[in-house]
Amino acid sequence: MGMKSLNQQAFIAWADAYLREELSQEDRSRFETYCTENPVHAEIFAQHKAFLTTMVKAEARSNFKRNLQHVAQDYHEAHSPKPATKVISLWDRLKLNAAVAAAIAIVSVFSTLWLTGYYKNLKKTTSDYSALRRDMNTVKRNVNAQNAAIQNIHNTKDNVKETMHYGATGFMITKNGYVVTNYHVITGADSVHLQNHKGESFKAEIIFTNPEKDLAILHINDSTFKSIRSIPYTFKRQDSDMGEDVYTIGFPRDEAVYGQGYLSSSTGYAGDTLAYQISIPVNPGNSGGPLLDKEGNVIGIISGKQKGIDGAAFAIKTKALMETLNSIPADSLNGKNVVLNNKNLLHNLSRTDQIKKLQDYIYIVKVY
């Protein structure tokens, strides 16, 4: 074959056949020989071969790049937040339903709150919390805890029966037979009896109550009660200081129990300025017991403790007792004036001697 005259198209076709391995062994050798003999065509062949390689590579590369982009897209869709469009269209469709549901929810929430008397309580409690506005968290916690948290301290025995009674503590405030305890102790009482540690029991009548301050003034109205010469303790009208060593005697059971601790805060539950927070182990039955300082001054009346908080008990300040006594109408007193003792007989005594002297004036309050 006279190869010299081979035109380029024919040569490329031959080269393609060679590259595609479509030639017989004999033709392959002929092609190779032709190339060595025709440097121009050899050069064209080399170029053509390189060009085709680039073409195949470019195609493979763009395939790979496409795959890579798909994988990348899938990957980023799986690893980034969902586009908002679906949510928005869903919201558009459900807007009306949501609005109706919200309206119903709002109505039912407020009507439930109203029906359960929440607003009455709220009104009462919010005023107590105002002093604590600095610490919103505490206020919030206290609001939430409001109804459940404060645990009134009284012994509940046989709640169901007609003969139910509560037991708590009370103590004498005047030598002519006035006794103070908590209002919550005597609410709904048919009769109130006071029993001292010797086992002597006296009938008492409720002279005056102050539900707001949780105080009740009783008077021993019993022929067996002999007027006493004097009360050994005095009442401290000024606020006591934080950290002060305090103690109480109460009747969480039928025997008097001594409890000792310290004044941990100058305000009471939920920032009540007419109460102290004290750290004394108190239990149901301690309510109404006297809170005394180391000199034997009554500085408060144990009233309750907070559920879920260790060592957070509360005592009503003497100041609140004074205010309550002053607000008793004269005709409620039956001519027996409230004259507080102003001579402290305890301040030089040891704690045990103090207790011996004052425990005669502390009573179990039995409510029937």
Partner: protein, 189 residues
């Protein structure tokens, strides 16, 4: 020790998969290697989108090296990808500046190696991108004829039938003309 060995096996599997155009290998590559590189870029003034671009470019570097058959896994795949990404990101940050600033002296050797790889890649990439553009510019039916013949390896008879040429010589002439046009476009660029 066995963990290291299994990690190397995973690296090799990914490289083999990429060579064979296996999508699962690309997915695995993304899942294992994208997060640390994205973190590096985002920590260095980059956005997530920029991280994606840099990572894809890095994978293309790897791909081209693998398809050239000159990729030797001398270190861990992560090390390679990280070095390339870092270099690419640095180049991106210093676009238009003649010299790249170096992070520190001790990674100079590493970044120099990465720089060589990237330069080589860019050179080859230019060629391939040119070809891709030329093919796109070529238009139909030339593109498909050449694709079917040179890439798919189909016979002239099949192409003849597909495009409805009355005789094989016409098809051969058409194919030749198409190739010449493609070469013209490619070498003109």
């Amino acid at each position: 020790m066995s963990k290291e060995k299994s990690d190397i096996q995973i690296d090799c599997k990914i490289i083999d998969g990429i060579r064979e155009g296996d999508n699962l290998a690309i997915q695995q590559l993304y899942q294992i290697h994208f997060p640390p590189i994205a973190q590096m870029i985002i920590n260095n003034r980059g956005s997530r989108e920029e991280a994606q671009d840099i990572f894809q470019e890095t994978v293309m570097v790897l791909y081209n090296k693998i398809s050239d058959g000159d990729f030797m896994l001398s270190s861990r795949l992560q090390t390679f990808l990280y070095a390339i990404s870092k270099r690419l990101w640095l180049k991106h940050l210093t676009r238009g500046e003649a010299k790249y600033r170096k992070d520190s002296i001790d990674d100079y050797g590493e970044s120099l190696a990465a720089e060589e790889v990237i330069e080589d890649h860019e050179l080859k990439e230019t060629n391939l991108v040119q070809m891709e553009d030329a093919l796109n510019e070529l238009g139909e039916p030339c593109k498909t004829i050449l694709y079917d013949f040179y890439i798919q390896g189909q016979s002239m008879a099949a192409i003849c039938e597909k495009f409805g040429y009355t005789n094989a010589d016409n098809a051969k002439t058409q194919k030749y003309k198409c190739l010449q046009r493609l070469k013209k476009i490619f070498f003109k660029k």
